[in-house]
Amino acid sequence: MSDYPEWETVIGLEIHAELNTKSKLFSTAPNRFGDEPNTNITEVCTGQPGALPVLNKEAVRKAVQLGCAINGQVAKFSKFDRKSYFYPDSPRNFQITQYDQPIVIGGTVIAEVDGVEKSFAVNRVHLEDDAGMLKHFSNFAGVDYNRAGVPLVEIVSEPCIHSPKEAVAYAMAIRAILMYIDASDCNMEEGSLRMDANISVRKKGETGLRNKIEIKNMNSFSNMELALHAEIARQVRAYENNPSAPIHTVIAQATYRWDPDKKETVMMRRKEHADDYRYFPEPDLVPIILTDQYIEEMRQSLPELPLQRERRYVRELNLSPDSSFHLVSDKPTVEYFEKALNVCGNARSLCNWILVEFAGRFRESSANLVTSGILPEHLAHLVNMIDDGTITGKIAKQVADDMVSHPGKDSRKIVSENPDYQPVGDRASLEAFVLEVISENPQSLADYKAGKDRAFGFLVGQVMKKTKGKANPAIVNELLTEKIKNF
């Protein structure tokens, strides 16, 4: 929080992830996004009288695997509770959730923040069912119950996050874990990963917590970061503008949402009293009782987790911890990287092209490198061509542009078909350019001879300019050194 050196931010995140089970948490209806409204439903999903919930074992398995993956304590006894509230998207007007005995207690998530590994404490993970969705039409509202009953895990962090950057890193690490263990698709556009933040600020050194507000449903990491920054600024400003007001009166406990157009948090409702959801044990379900053996089997079945892979990449591929964290945090991207790595051994360069060059080229697009149609082999070929001197770094960037506009076309083909991308690699033609540059820049020559090394770089630049960047820099260096001696 370098913006406000006297202040400290305290953030707790609640992350809801839809589990990618075949059927819903308490019914046999398909768990699938994007179908016609009210097609993936049974009598359970619409809260028909006489219907009863039956727990989906696959959802339990995925929650337990998540618990193992974050080193939480998987409860051998957990149970479901009814949480009562009235809303049309809630088919029974109570949600079935886990109130005081969740399936996972505690846990740790490690994420890379500014190149340093930080450890974040998870309070709990519990299972619950998702609500339906309201659709508003011109003069009425409809309810789509396709989503009603989709299994969710709610992952609740401790209030241990102290900056928007940390919040993003923590959420990225959670998402990576969920994807690695194949528990959730974590598709934020489709709402299968949703984040709510509880946030307050306090003077550095204070121990108690000041009033917090909740920001609901920030649907991307970048929105979350912006929302948290805006909210911190709002709270700090409020305290600083009201130095004499009693502290608990300055920020009202309330629920906010992020308005991405106005770039500010907008209050939805005040929380003057704690909501009374009248939780009590769900009598239609029996408790979840797990054996040590089952939990151990789940632990053993875990794949390599993002943190393990991140550390392996640093160790074996010499990636920087920060790049490695970002690379492994997105499962499709890391799988893409692995495929490219089969064709090209330059891991650091591949990583840079993925995280910096191509990420930048897709920044304003709804696609990304993985979904673009650009094959991992073609990226690998690009890096290989740079490394073996076939093209220069500068040309490579143009080739990359062409790869984006012609996805699926091999980078080698792009280079071979375009005369402008042919390297000027033969010494004879380069020699002519070098001699020309030396004769045109006598002052630089003199400077160089007087010991100013920088002048040499300038001369190299002039040669590259004349060759439109196609010259092989190694050869240019060699020729220049050789020719300068003769002047």
Binding site: Q48, P49, G50, L52, V286
Partner: protein
């Protein structure tokens, strides 16, 4: 034909002495003629029942195997789903609700070739002890049309007592099968919690509800239990115990069986009810049972505990009846809040509103510890007490109801009505199996019932003892004069 048991009726059909169509026509005619005065049925399925009967006759003609209830007309309480038919639950709110699926019990008995003949009246959402809380019609006791049939399964009890069908199904949350069975002079059985699937039963108190049979005799109840007492994958609270054979040990008698009686708890019982109960106990002794005194004083807490737990569960179970997805939405409602408020206001009767308010209150923050959580603790103590008692005896005997059937409209105070369930409620709180078997008549000529309670999963022993008692007492063969008409 109406004097026959379900098993005898099936035998006649199988032997070719009558057809399924004749059976159904016979009972439909009785319903059309007698139910005008009784009001047991909310719906009678003339067409579908006859169609099913003809189908069975064809099946029989082809020599296909026939089920254990072949040709037997059965009725369902209106809170148990029969696909495509209205499940009103005795409520105005659900008068337009057609069940989109069968209850598991409906499936099981239809698979045994029973013929579903209609749906019976009940207290609204099974909340009541007299069927007077039905928003749809009054049901009269066939023994005396001026008195109630009991409740909440009063329509099912009255239908069987009047021999309008040999078997009807009810649900029992605090005595709703046993008490009307007693008040109508028939047999009613509440199985061990989890023995019978609750799938397709509109929930009142989920941890208490059980579906069970109302029949004219104990063997028919046992036959039904052999069919419906099985694990169901759609009900998570269903017992994993294998289905049992009930009938084969029936003739073994009860010699040496120890039956506990909470004499102390029965103090203050009306003299005529106590005298009837004493006579029943003497009869059990004559059959060789050993009667032991047991202490069930903890049961004095049963009614408050029940009215906390049952209403807490009900307040959430009934939350879904909001007028959004199904049921009768208020025509006055213009906004979302009005849909909720007016639909409930217009759709629910006073007893249902009272219980939802009570249940909401006992679950509220600040009150839950004092009410809901404390009630659960007392419930646990009751379960423990019954377990201890069942170390000393095989069964416990009590009257079913402390009072005989009372006049329609006679009890106005809800609390007085609640107290009438004092003997039946502990059974639900503890998940035990219990039967109501006819034990004679009050001086006013109204039926009374004996309750036999067993340990969890001992459903068979309970019915077995009831059978032995009934063979000796023979009260189940008594029929109300109204029903004797051919």
């Amino acid at each position: 034909m109406h004097q026959l048991s379900a098993r005898e009726l099936r035998q006649r059909f199988l032997k070719g002495e009558t057809t399924a169509e004749n059976i159904v026509k016979y009972f439909l005619e009785r319903i059309d003629r007698l139910d005008k005065d009784i009001g047991a049925f909310l719906a009678v399925f003339h067409q579908s029942a006859l169609a099913k009967a003809r189908h069975l006759d064809e099946k029989k003609a082809q020599g296909a195997p026939l089920g254990k209830l072949a040709g037997v007309p059965v009725a369902f309480k209106d809170n148990i789903h029969v696909r495509g038919e209205i499940s009103s639950c005795g409520s105005k709110f659900l008068t337009n609700y057609r069940a989109p699926f069968n209850s598991t019990v409906t499936d099981l008995i239809e698979a045994e070739d029973a013929i579903v003949i209609g749906k019976t009246n009940c207290d609204e959402f099974a909340m009541g002890s007299s069927t007077e809380n039905s928003a749809l019609q009054v049901t009269h006791n066939p023994w005396n049309l001026n008195v109630v049939p009991g409740g909440s399964s009063g329509g099912s009890a009255a239908a069987v007592a009047a021999r309008l069908c040999p078997i009807a199904f009810g649900s029992d949350t605090g005595g709703s099968i046993r008490q009307p069975a007693a008040l109508c002079g028939i047999v009613g059985f509440k199985p061990t919690y989890g023995r019978v699937s609750r799938y397709g039963l509109v929930a009142f108190g989920s941890s208490l509800d059980q579906i069970g049979p109302l029949t004219t005799n104990v063997e028919d109840a046992a036959l039904v239990m052999e069919i419906i007492g099985r694990q169901c994958e759609k009900d998570s609270t269903s017992l994993s115990a294998p289905p049992e054979s009930y009938l084969e040990t029936f003739t073994n008698g009860i010699a040496g069986m120890r039956i506990g009686v909470p004499w102390d708890f029965l103090k203050g019982l009306r003299p005529e009810v106590l005298a009837n109960f004493q006579a029943s106990i003497d009869m059990l002794k004559e059959q060789g049972a050993e009667i032991v005194d047991v202490d069930l004083s903890i049961m004095k807490h049963a009614i408050p505990v029940y009215y906390i737990i049952a209403t807490a569960e009900a307040s959430t179970n009934l939350a879904r009846f909001d007028g959004i997805r199904y049921g009768v939405r208020s025509a006055r409602a213009k906004t979302l809040d009005e849909v909720y408020d007016y639909s409930k206001e217009e759709g629910y009767g006073p007893e249902v509103k009272r219980r939802i308010l009570l249940g909401t209150y006992v679950l509220s923050a600040g009150y839950q510890d004092a009410y809901y959580k404390k009630a659960q603790k007392v419930r646990t103590l009751m379960i423990r007490r019954f377990k201890e008692i069942f170390h000393d005896c095989h069964l416990v005997a009590t009257p079913v109801s402390p009072i005989e059937a009372f006049g329609i409209g006679a009890i106005k105070d809800p609390l007085e009505m609640y107290l009438a369930d004092i003997f039946t409620i502990p059974v639900n709180l503890c998940g035990l199996p219990a039967v109501s078997v006819p034990s004679g008549f009050s001086p006013a000529g109204l039926p009374l019932g004996l309750q036999l309670i067993g340990p969890q999963k001992h459903d068979k022993n309970v019915l077995h003892a009831a059978y032995t008692f009934d063979q000796a007492a023979k009260f189940s063969s008594k029929m109300p004069p109204l029903a004797k008409q051919g």
